[in-house]
């Protein structure tokens, strides 16, 4: 994958004469010392990172760690005091006003923590905004806006005013407004933090689905470890304006770079991060109803398994047979339908492991992972559920 955005030594200092403070930072003074001595706040300190095309890059940190300042440097809402920022190989810090506006219109769009919506405009007019700025004619931009509103699941709400929408729906408008512009890079500044936990989870899953389709480069800010690891292909951890570690969630979990990160990720509940689809096995071994018991036994023997899921021609799960019952059945000349057991547990691929624990403990069979139509797409052994928690 190519590098979409590259930040090189980005530093942002707030105060009256930020340029003069750079030297003190180079001399090795800390953030607190600079604040005390000069009344300047160091928001971001010498951050370098690379974001690959099409990945979801999460920047995680507690409040005051500089993550919101950093993301605002990416579209120059904050002009970095020092450093270079390359998007598609061009240093955007050097852009003049006109080029910067064009850049913002075409390449980047942002979603805000408190939505940042225009409450004097309807849902449709909000989503249209970016296109209006680009001076796209009215009919065309409305068509695009309507299509985008449909994508985020707000069809039918186009002409409502914002106060008629719940928080979750408002953030969908925020997302649609950003997507309508068809940007290469989507900046999301704690977009789900202001939502209640249930809605937040729902939105996270929808973002994952949407990203699977759209394949944008997403830079996502959060203070929530669970959210970061759930969404991020790679995660950067920030502290005191500096990036402490960048890596995949696995890297950070298994090899935390500092004690700080170790403490940070200790809170993480793996059962809330990993989903059924992460730990399931592809169902190599299934028995088709039409093939009968003998084939089922053969499959089980070949794989060394004690049970097998039985599916119909459309791969819809009908039940499960154990090897003992199958052999018994063959002796008594029963059909496969007479010996299958319906007392097994199903799960959706998006179910979190925490929801599977009970099922794994209660049942003597593996868990069947099925999609919406009931097709078998994976199996999870009971032991896998429990070992994933460790």
């Amino acid at each position: 994958m190519s590098i979409k955005l590259k930040a090189k030594n980005i530093t942002k200092i707030f105060g009256k004469k930020p340029k003069k403070i750079i030297k003190k930072l180079d001399e090795g003074l800390s953030k607190d010392e600079i604040l005390k001595e000069t009344n300047h706040t160091v928001g971001v300190n010498n951050v370098s990172l690379e974001v690959k095309e099409g990945e979801t890059f999460v920047i995680m940190g507690l409040s005051g760690s500089g993550k919101s300042t950093l993301i605002r440097c990416f579209n120059l809402l904050h002009e970095p005091t020092k450093g270079e920022l390359y998007v598609d190989g061009e240093n955007i810090v050097k852009y003049d006003k006109k080029k910067l506006r064009e850049f913002r219109q075409k390449k980047m769009a942002m979603v805000f923590q408190h939505f940042g919506l225009f409450n004097h405009r309807s849902v449709l007019e909000n989503v249209e905004y970016g296109l209006e700025i680009k001076k796209i004619d009215k009919n065309k931009r409305q068509d695009i806006a309507k299509e985008t509103i449909k994508t985020v699941g707000l069809k039918g709400w186009e002409n409502q005013m914002l106060h008629q929408l719940s928080g979750g729906m408002q953030q969908r408008v925020g997302l649609a407004r950003a997507l309508a512009n068809d940007p290469d890079i989507l900046l999301m500044d704690e977009p789900f933090s202001a939502l209640d936990p249930l809605i937040r989870r729902e939105m996270q899953l929808e973002l994952i689905d949407l990203q699977a389709k759209l394949k944008k480069t997403i830079i996502f800010i959060t203070h929530d470890v669970n959210e970061a690891f759930k969404l991020g292909d790679r995660v950067a951890v920030m502290k005191d304006g500096e990036v402490v570690q960048v890596g995949t969630p696995d890297d950070i979990l298994s090899k935390p770079a500092t004690k700080y990160i170790e403490d940070f990720v200790q809170d993480i509940d793996r059962s809330k991060v990993f989903q059924a689809k992460h730990i399931m096995n592809k169902p190599r071994d299934v028995a088709f109803i039409k093939n009968g018991l003998k084939v089922a036994v053969k499959e089980m023997k070949a794989d060394g398994r004690s049970s097998i899921f039985v599916v119909d021609g459309n791969r819809i799960v009908k039940g499960i047979v154990t090897i003992d019952e199958a052999i018994e059945g063959i002796k008594e000349n029963k059909t496969i339908k007479e010996v299958i057991d319906n007392d097994f547990n199903k799960a959706n691929p998006e179910d979190y492991i925490q929801d599977l624990i009970y099922k794994a403990v209660k049942s003597k069979y593996p868990i069947a992972v099925t999609n919406e139509e009931g097709k078998l797409i994976g199996t999870i052994l009971r032991s896998t559920v429990l070992s994933a928690l460790a």
Binding site: L77, F103, A109, H120, I133
Partner: protein, 283 residues
């Protein structure tokens, strides 16, 4: 030593007088241009209002109030206006209305841009704010002096004095409203690549509109409050009747004219306030 020493005297008044004289003489062309501009506008407003038949104006008030409030208020306000006519003060009311409307329009044309510029610049805000405070605390009679100096007696200085007296609220509230637009909303506008003008017209002004409307309401009420005072330097209308009544101690005349001014003020206030409320966006 109880009295202030006579030797210490600062003759500030003289210098102000010299300054005003200088302005008057060297900039007479400028003031003449303003004068004819204001007069032209005022006359047109007056002619249009006088041209409309009285019953049509009443119907207009009823419909407008019905639209922004409700039928009951509409009918009631219509009746009140009718009452002014019944006092025999219809034409006076129209003349007063023309002065007030002209002053308000000029106040908005001047005040809203100043408010916008002030919102963008902290330095300007620091300079203009005390000026506005001074303008509002100054007794309104004081404005009559420069008004007469620059424009002599008549309706034009009355409009001038009324404008100066009534412009502060709209400047103040425009400034405040634009400053209060949430930071994230502004960031959103910028992040989509809006130019400063697009941001102002498409985001800041619409967001500020409810508060600016409240400012317009206040400005209108201030202009109404100047009606009697400005008639001292020649504004035609209901104010003249009040003044004459005071001079002659004519209770009947004073009461009718006074009540008419109150009626006019109430109706204008309620209608502009309700119109302003329509601009509010529920949270």
């Amino acid at each position: 030593m109880r009295e202030f020493p006579e030797a210490i005297r600062i003759k500030l008044g003289i210098y102000v007088e010299i300054f005003i004289e200088w302005l008057r003489e060297d900039f007479s062309g400028f003031f003449d241009a303003i004068k004819s501009g204001i007069l032209w506008f005022l006359m047109n407003v007056q002619d249009i209002l006088l041209f409309i038949p009285w019953w049509l104006i009443i119907v207009g008030v009823v419909l407008l109030a019905t639209k922004v409030r409700n039928v009951k208020s509409g009918v009631f306000y219509g009746f009140l206006i009718f009452l002014i006519g019944a006092f025999g003060l219809w034409e006076m009311m129209i003349l007063t209305l023309a002065v007030v409307l002209t002053s308000v329009v000029i106040s908005l044309l001047v005040g809203i841009p100043i408010g916008i510029v002030m919102a963008y610049s902290d330095r300007l805000e620091v300079i203009i704010k005390p000026l506005l405070d001074a303008m509002q605390t100054m007794p309104s009679f004081v404005y009559l002096i420069p008004a007469i100096m620059f424009f002599d007696l008549g309706t034009v200085p009355a409009v001038f004095a009324t404008t100066i007296y009534s412009v502060p609220p709209v400047i103040r509230l425009t400034n405040l409203a634009i400053r209060r637009v949430p930071k994230e909303v502004l960031e959103a506008a910028k992040s989509f690549g809006s130019s400063p003008m697009q941001t102002l017209v498409k985001v800041e002004l619409p967001q500020a509109m409810p508060t600016i409307m409240a400012g317009i309401n206040q400005t209108t009420m201030m202009a109404m409050a100047m009606v009697v005072i400005s008639s001292m330097i020649g504004a035609k209308g209901l104010g003249i009747n009040v003044l004459t009544a005071i001079n002659r101690i004519d209770i009947a005349m004073g009461f009718e004219a006074g009540v008419s001014i109150v009626i006019l003020a109430i109706i204008i206030d309620r209608i502009t306030q309700s119109a302003a409320d329509k601009f509010k966006y529920p949270e």
